[in-house]
Symmetry: C2
Subunit: 272 residues, 2 copies
């Protein structure tokens, strides 16, 4: 089963478009795990198991593992998602981007080594830098289009032929890259209007939407702007607000409570 | 000593603007190393020691290590460069790019974990995504501007206010990012005219120029277009042509021969 098919199933079986982002910050580990040699993996796995009922996807952010030399723990976390929650979508947030032969090595890192269903990719290097990801059959390539940070404006909003650069990225994905493989796009919840602009360009492709929760993006405006006519179509990511909801013995339960509330907030947006 | 100072010294002390790119492809290991458990590290270290006399810098490409689960070998290679060749510049080619808190983890990966002098970074996410790298004092942030692959055109050459996008990146680096930290820019040797355009925009900032050797970029045109009036200013990278010059017992010697020839070709370009 390919990325798109698996995602459609996950939305419906969990009744959720929430994605739990796994950004294990070493300075924010819950008290009971501090000092444990595999604290990162234990922390992520506890969060995963506590939130699986209310999330369609998990998104480990590789930078947090790489800065701590914790690739083995990332392997363990990914294996746990695949084994214990095989219906959930596993997105490796890596934002890779390099020329052809090198990009193929990044694709293997994401799809083979970590067994991810999809990986985030930067479009700046163009078609031949994305192609090695797209060629992995059944895997998803999630293209950065309009990011959630304030600096996203610096280049993504520059006007090219009367339209901002990020819309050119969206058109390229819709017209070309999505014919070469299974695509999705990143559009930040901090810019709900632009979520709508991208939705209009890319038809039914999934949108990965970071920026709700700690980054302050509005769920209501995002869902209205981005969901498809069938009500699905979004992977709405929240990381810190869920991960660090509590830091005591009940940290996982606190995370589950915030995840459920976020899932419900997303579901509660009335149609139309 | 910071990145710029170290690089100026390395150019002069080695009389070379050649950078040896370390892209250890598992399918192209020299015969004597095949099957060794630390073949990647052994291979890279042999190449480093054989080419150090003719190169100012080494540039490990992290994707080749990541796809093989070989971070420990990358640590070993980086430690060897720092210990055995402390005057040489160590560039981690990672092309990272993410929003603030995550970017700081990528900066730590490059500068703390691997002890690199500089790291390559993608500009698409804007100023606040680059800032965490720039804040690491004495470290270098090498911004992708105009890449050497053919797909580089897809977005980098889109016209914004009558000028291609990559020149807007160059202006941003020159006017803003280089005041926040020590910068350089990536401009592919496959587009020598554009090396000249970027040189005119960024003054004396170093340019990392991939694409000579296997990718077919012309040394003569690149050096004429990109060098500063003092004759220095370029980090000209060659990877595959040097690494895979031979695959028998004498692979390192063959690599040294190609590296010396490339260094000499760069030096032989007459002034003016």
């Amino acid at each position: 089963m390919g990325f798109h098919h698996k995602l459609e199933n996950a939305w419906r079986s969990t009744a959720s478009m929430l994605c739990v982002g796994l950004d294990p910050d070493p300075t924010r580990m819950p008290a009971p795990l501090r000092g444990a040699p595999d604290a990162i993996a234990q922390f992520c796995i506890a969060i995963i198991d506590a939130t699986a009922a209310t999330a369609c996807a998990f998104k480990p952010q590789i930078a947090y593992f790489a800065s701590q030399g914790a690739e083995a723990q990332l392997e363990q976390v990914c294996a746990h998602i695949r084994d214990a929650h095989p219906g959930h979508v596993l997105i490796l947030d890596a934002k890779r981007g390099d020329i052809g032969p090198t990009a193929e090595h990044y694709a293997r890192e994401a799809f083979v080594r970590y067994g991810a269903d999809a990986v985030t990719v930067n479009p700046y290097l163009g078609t031949d830098s994305v192609e090695p990801f797209l060629r992995h059959e059944g895997k998803g390539t999630i293209i950065l289009c309009r990011t959630s940070n304030r600096g996203g404006d610096d280049f993504q909003s520059l006007m090219v032929d009367g339209q901002p650069l990020y819309t050119h990225v969206a058109h390229r994905v819709a017209a070309e890259w999505s014919r070469m493989g299974e695509c999705a796009l990143v559009v930040g919840a901090t810019y709900p209007a632009e979520v709508g602009v991208v939705r209009d360009i890319v038809g039914d492709l999934p949108l990965l939407v970071p920026g709700v929760g700690a980054q302050g993006g509005e769920v209501d405006a995002t869902v209205r702007a981005g969901r498809r006519t069938d009500g699905w179509g979004l992977i709405i990511n929240s990381s810190r607000a869920i991960l660090y909801a509590g830091d005591g013995e009940d940290f996982a339960q606190q995370a589950a409570t915030v995840a459920a509330a976020t899932r419900d907030e997303i579901r509660a947006v009335p149609p139309g």
